[in-house]
């Protein structure tokens, strides 16, 4: 019985390691979600997609969710590997990086709380949120 428990435990341990998503990959997936959300919003703002207030709100909420957990995806030890484009400057300036992500969280939170009357209102809400992308990537992303 003991042996069986040990075997089960080890299988569980091995499979959980195999299933675990590395932080580098989780970061990349998070940023893809943000890109997708911006794409959806931009389509609405430009009139390329039909106006959908609920979808716009949800897109801002998606970015807000990403922002909430984003800093936790940069543990020490995840500086390199898996084609990460994260700059070493993140770990050297963690307080500033955290502050920049916090601003992204509050800006997306504010936008997600809005009720949009039309496409122009969505367009106006994208601006301040999108500012965060460049502000952070200027310092903390390295093009590979």
């Amino acid at each position: 019985m003991k042996r069986f428990a040990l075997a089960a435990l080890s299988i569980f341990a091995i499979s959980s390691v195999a299933l675990a998503v590395e932080p580098q990959e989780a970061r990349q997936a998070s940023m893809k979600k943000v890109g997708g959300a911006i794409g959806l919003l931009s389509g609405i703002a430009k009139g390329e997609a039909p106006f959908d207030a609920a979808a716009a709100q949800a897109a801002f909420a998606t970015m807000n969710t990403v922002a909430k957990e984003y800093v936790s995806l940069f543990p020490v030890g995840s500086e390199t590997g898996m084609d990460t484009e994260a700059s070493p400057a993140i770990w050297a300036n963690m307080a500033d990086f955290t502050a920049k992500v916090a601003k992204f969280e509050s800006d997306t939170g504010a936008a997600a709380a809005m009720t949009f009357a039309d496409a122009a209102a969505v367009g106006a809400a994208i601006g301040p949120v999108a500012e965060n992308c460049g502000a952070c990537h200027q310092l903390y992303r390295v093009k590979k």
């Binding site: 997708g36 794409g39 484009e85 999108a130 460049g134 990537h137 992303r141 390295v142 093009k143």
Partner: protein, 304 residues
Amino acid sequence: MSRFLRWIAGLALLGVALGLFITRAVPLNASEIAALPDGDIARGENVFWASGCVSCHAVPKSEGDAHLVLAGGLELKTDFGTFVAPNISSSIEHGIGSWKLGDFASAMLKGVSPEGTHYYPSFPYGSYARMTSQDISDLYAYMKTLPASDNVPALNQLSFPFNIRAAIGGWKLLYLNASPRLTLDVSDPVLARGQYLVDGPGHCGECHSPRNLVGGFKANAWLSGARNPDGGGKIPNITPGSKDIGEWSASDLVAYFETGFTPDFDSVGGSMVSVQKNLSKLPKTDLEAIAAYLKVVPARPDGA
């Protein structure tokens, strides 16, 4: 024998003197300066954003109106050492407020200071040399209107032999000219405008083209991208052969210049963030001209 040695020594001295003479700093001459037109402040603002002055000379990390204070201080890490952007605000004492139009034009077109010394080509006069005298005068008029700062930035930290300023004369002999970077048919005025903006004021190739050991551009690799000397990674190839943006349409490029977003809504990063902010202030016709030109330059594999 001693007469022979004296001859050799004399010849060597003559050689050095000749070398110093042909590599001396030569500003614009009096008639060239007299021919400079009057500047216009409103047009100059457009030239200012096209030329990207703030990206190096604004107070690092400044925003809004503070970003128009060209106090210098940004460090540019390169293979030759660290260059520190000087104060080019309108301060008479610490900036360029005392400069006459001729001084400004000699700096922009010839890389020569009012004191008659060479500037390092980290100040991209190698590109600005292609600018029209009208644009130079307009830019001068606009920059006169910007705030003064009494900041005194640190000095350059360059490694030998690049710390010998006189050697820049040799670099200029090899690399400084105002001829087109690429021989292309630019009879279409849109393409001509694009070429002017990219290779002149915009100085895109200064970062987006690979350089050799003495800082000259490698042949047949214009705009093909380069290793990023400051912070690692790469500066992308922006020719149609680029793995990153070769597939982008001209309108994708314009959208990126305006918004900072790629066609799949990835965002601008690194030093390009500041450049894109400058570009977003240009008239759309200029952005379309830049995009049109970038679609017709020769496709190159990624440079290094």
